[in-house]
């Protein structure tokens, strides 16, 4: 009987937990939520600005296609990528011969474009 009473008292104690005071905790969490969102926006804006700067430095968006096609042609793609490489090659076939960039330069530029595009799209698709 005594044991039961003690256990009942223990249950009573446990049922009254001391709660931690807020003291600005909620605001700190809200502030962190804001930061994660603005970080996403910053990545997007930086990627877009970088992409635009690259286009301007290259002269025209057409040049981007040309570089991309060079990169595609650089690798010996298997049959499953033939369609893609054909499509990209078709886009700029007429201007491809007039490019002055070396293959290495083109590859680097294409990789930068790819990275910027990935960053921009990821920042849009990924949750905070």
């Amino acid at each position: 009987m005594s044991d039961n009473l003690e256990f009942d008292a223990l249950d009573k104690m446990l049922a009254q937990p001391a709660l931690i005071a807020d003291r600005g905790f909620s605001e700190r969490v809200s502030g962190k939520l804001g930061k994660t969102i603005s970080m996403r926006s910053k990545v997007f804006v930086a990627a877009v600005i970088g992409w635009l700067a690259l286009i301007l430095s290259l002269g025209s968006p057409q040049a981007l296609y040309e570089d991309l096609s060079k990169l595609v042609m650089l690798f010996n793609f298997s049959a499953q990528f033939d369609f893609v490489s054909t499509q990209i090659g078709f886009l700029d076939y007429t201007t491809l011969q007039s490019i002055d960039y070396t293959t290495l330069q083109s590859s680097v530029i294409s990789l930068i474009v790819f990275a910027l595009s990935t960053a921009a799209v990821s920042s849009l698709l990924l949750r905070n």
């Binding site: 104690m13 931690i20 807020d22 969490v29 962190k32």
Partner: protein, 187 residues
């Protein structure tokens, strides 16, 4: 609770920060108290609580509404704690069961009685599974089955952890301060 469901809906549909902040305000006291009982350190518990709420905001879409929102939060909090414990164990090569002493800081609570301080110190001497099950079941009112779902622990283990933990709590409270005195203060 109706208010809570409105806030949850707003957070999910509109990614509403204000609505989520209100949810944080509503639950932070219990989530942090739960984590303090598990980690025995207020600052670490606060960091884990922040991580819990930020994870909850990110994963809000995955909250199906089938169980209680607070249960879903405690699940995230417990996962954060387990992850923290694993990283601490790796770093310090700690092999014990994360059992320790808690220096109760009264200024961290809205209000805390001597009796509650005794209880917090006694709970700190249990292992995390015992503390988590007892806290969720006896302090926050979840059923054994709900605790089993929240902690992803077999129902039998939940029951045995609670039973073993309560026996140990009684021993600790009796040994360190005669339970009669504690009960006297409680009445």
């Amino acid at each position: 609770m109706k208010n809570e469901s409105v806030l949850i809906r707003r957070t999910i549909r509109h990614r509403g920060k204000a609505a989520f902040s209100a949810l944080v305000k509503m639950h932070q006291g219990k989530v942090r108290a739960f984590l303090v009982r598990l980690c025995k350190q207020y600052d670490v518990a606060d960091d884990l609580a922040q991580e819990t709420f930020i994870n909850a905001y990110r994963k809000m879409d995955s909250y199906k509404g089938s169980g209680s929102y607070s249960g879903w939060l405690y699940r995230i909090a417990y996962n954060c704690f387990l992850q923290h414990r694993r990283s601490v164990s790796r770093r310090l090569e700690v092999t014990d069961d994360y059992v320790g002493q808690l220096e109760v800081l009264t200024d961290r609570y809205d209000s805390i009685s001597t009796q509650q301080m005794d209880l917090e110190q006694a709970l700190a001497q249990l292992n995390p599974d015992e503390t988590a099950t007892i806290t969720l079941c006896h302090s926050f009112g979840f059923s054994h089955r709900e605790v089993s779902e929240i902690l992803k622990m077999p129902l039998g283990s939940v029951k045995s952890n609670i039973s073993r933990g309560k026996t140990r709590l009684r021993e600790i409270l009796t040994r360190e301060r005669p339970l009669a005195a504690v009960l006297e203060r409680a009445s």
